[in-house]
Symmetry: C2
Subunit: 339 residues, 2 copies
């Protein structure tokens, strides 16, 4: 059953049926209802390919990643993706998850040329990310999860990383901590810079030192968290508190702390950033972890909306959001032993 047949059945022209289905005004209420009833009866919905070709819109939001690291294996990413797809589905849009077999530039070029996506979302932006200007040249709207440090305006949804980590550090300082470590994510990524800035500014503002030995950067995995924390604990002046950039690093950090014969909370305080992924809950940890919290799932949902706005013609400069982050106090933060 296609439009032509449906029109013939109704004794109407294709154009009238099409406009009736698409909610145009210049069709009488009477015929509109007849059309809608027939469409329902015959279980008609328009052919996706034809619709796309005619409108020039693919109805697809793309997300590209290097093929060497599959993000579907990363719970953070899948939680984000889950929000993205659900929200996109509500707007009749699909998500195209594409592994770039060659360079990511070539992948974007191909997507653009083929017209397979209306917009793309860009994850894990670098400080200066070449993908943003590339996509602009290619004419594909793009929304960044996070944000670059570039002056070039682009659509983004970011959380207040700097504020969150400043608050976390301030909480620890308020409890009496003077020597606070940071187990951060990959230093090339924009968010990691912001978090370090927040941490450092709280310490300096309180007249404390923020030496590089107290700040480590690496991927946000259990192993890296363990390694960085173990390194700090083994140093001449181990920290009395540690702030971790992810729940995974925090798990590693906690392991390192325990392996050093120390107790989390009473010996060493721990704060972790929690993206709210469903598989790991910081309140179920023992002891329950104090966290800076922002749901990455909800970010995914919102980013699909922003992408839709962008496709609808909204300018990137109007599509910039920074979400506040909650600081949730639990049992892993206490005053330092010495106080």
């Amino acid at each position: 059953m296609n439009l032509k047949e449906l029109a013939r059945h109704l004794g109407l022209s294709q154009s009238t049926v099409s406009r009736a289905l698409n909610g145009y005004q210049d069709v009488s209420t009477d015929t509109r209802e007849r059309v809608l009833a027939a469409a329902r009866r015959f279980d008609y919905s328009p052919n996706a390919s034809a619709h796309r070709l005619a409108t020039g819109h693919s109805g697809v939001i793309g997300i590209v990643f290097p093929s060497d690291k599959d993000p579907l294996l990363d719970p953070l990413f899948t939680d984000f993706l889950s929000g993205l797809t659900n929200s996109a589905a509500r707007r009749q849009m699909d998500i195209l998850v594409s592994a770039s077999l060659d360079t990511s530039e070539a992948s974007y070029r191909r997507l653009a040329q083929r017209g397979s996506v209306d917009a793309v979302v860009l994850s894990s932006p670098l400080i200066e990310d070449p993908r943003v200007p590339l996509l602009e040249r290619l004419g594909i709207p793009c929304v960044v999860h996070g944000r670059t440090k570039s002056s070039h305006p682009h659509a983004f949804l970011d959380i207040d990383n700097e504020g969150a980590f400043r608050q976390a550090a301030e909480l620890l300082i308020g409890l009496g901590h003077r020597w606070i470590g940071l187990v951060n994510g990959d230093a090339r990524q924009a968010f990691a810079v912001d978090r370090e800035t927040g941490w450092r500014s709280a310490l300096l503002r309180a007249g404390l030192e923020a030496p590089d030995t107290l700040s480590g950067s690496d991927v946000m995995t259990d192993e890296a968290g363990y390694r960085l924390t173990a390194g700090m604990l083994a140093s001449a002046a181990p920290p009395s508190a540690i702030i971790c950039s992810s729940i995974f690093s925090a798990i590693g950090a906690c392991r390192a702390i325990r392996d050093n014969g120390l107790t989390i909370g009473s010996d060493i305080s721990v704060i972790a950033h929690d993206d709210g992924i469903s598989s790991i809950r910081p309140e179920a940890h023992s002891p329950p972890l104090t966290t800076t919290f922002s749901s990455i799932h909800r970010a995914g949902e919102r980013i699909a909306e922003i992408a839709a706005d962008l496709i609808g013609g909204k300018s990137p400069a109007e599509c910039q959001e920074v979400w506040p982050v909650d600081l949730i106090f639990r049992d892993s933060t206490r005053p330092p032993r010495s106080v």
Copy 2:
């Protein structure tokens, strides 16, 4: 840059250019090379929508799931999906992950009507799954991950669940166990039936009893694994060994065992089915778990290939595979205490 412009640039007709690009034989080697060179130079690739409309193929494999449970949050599913997308990408196909907002029947109807997918993969099949005949009526090729018990032939890739669980039980029997519990998945699912059959047949063949009290079914989560195991341990005749249908149930089962003051291996043997997901490794467990192993990631990869075969016209009856399952002996299985 589209086909028309490219053809104009070359002083050729669209049809010739199209045929050159698509590798038809009736175009001279000379022009073919000119065309390919120009396409490369102008970074041309055909518009996806137009191509789809013209060929009638969408180049998309669909996978539908109920919107109430988001499978993207399930590591088993994402690992499968990861294999599926990678393998599909190699064949220039995309995966459409679609949440069915209403009934799954309506979703499939819509996909069919819109022509948005060339084939679908069907996960978690029930014993008699209505989706299989539905898709057949709709004319959408479909490949099942697992298989139904229906006599109706359909394309599938399954693992030898029955054999795997029989072997697992036989291993335990060989070690001297006489009272072996089964912590199974949802009893409505086809694979759970096969696993129970395997477990039961090994016991009966060895002249042992296989009462219902030793076999529990539920979702394959940590919590359910804990509950079922705790129930068995609290019974008048607790098992000396337990076989779990997933690594998640096994984690719960181990917790229950420890909470009962028992030691895994020496007090109670444990075997788990391991789908090889990247986030949880049974060999890193303490003690390392004996497993029946089959990579769900590789199943995903293979299923994309089968879907491609189906689209290419292969008959469903020719597309049926049952993979053997490895039994990997580790430290969680030992002879029972009493022996």
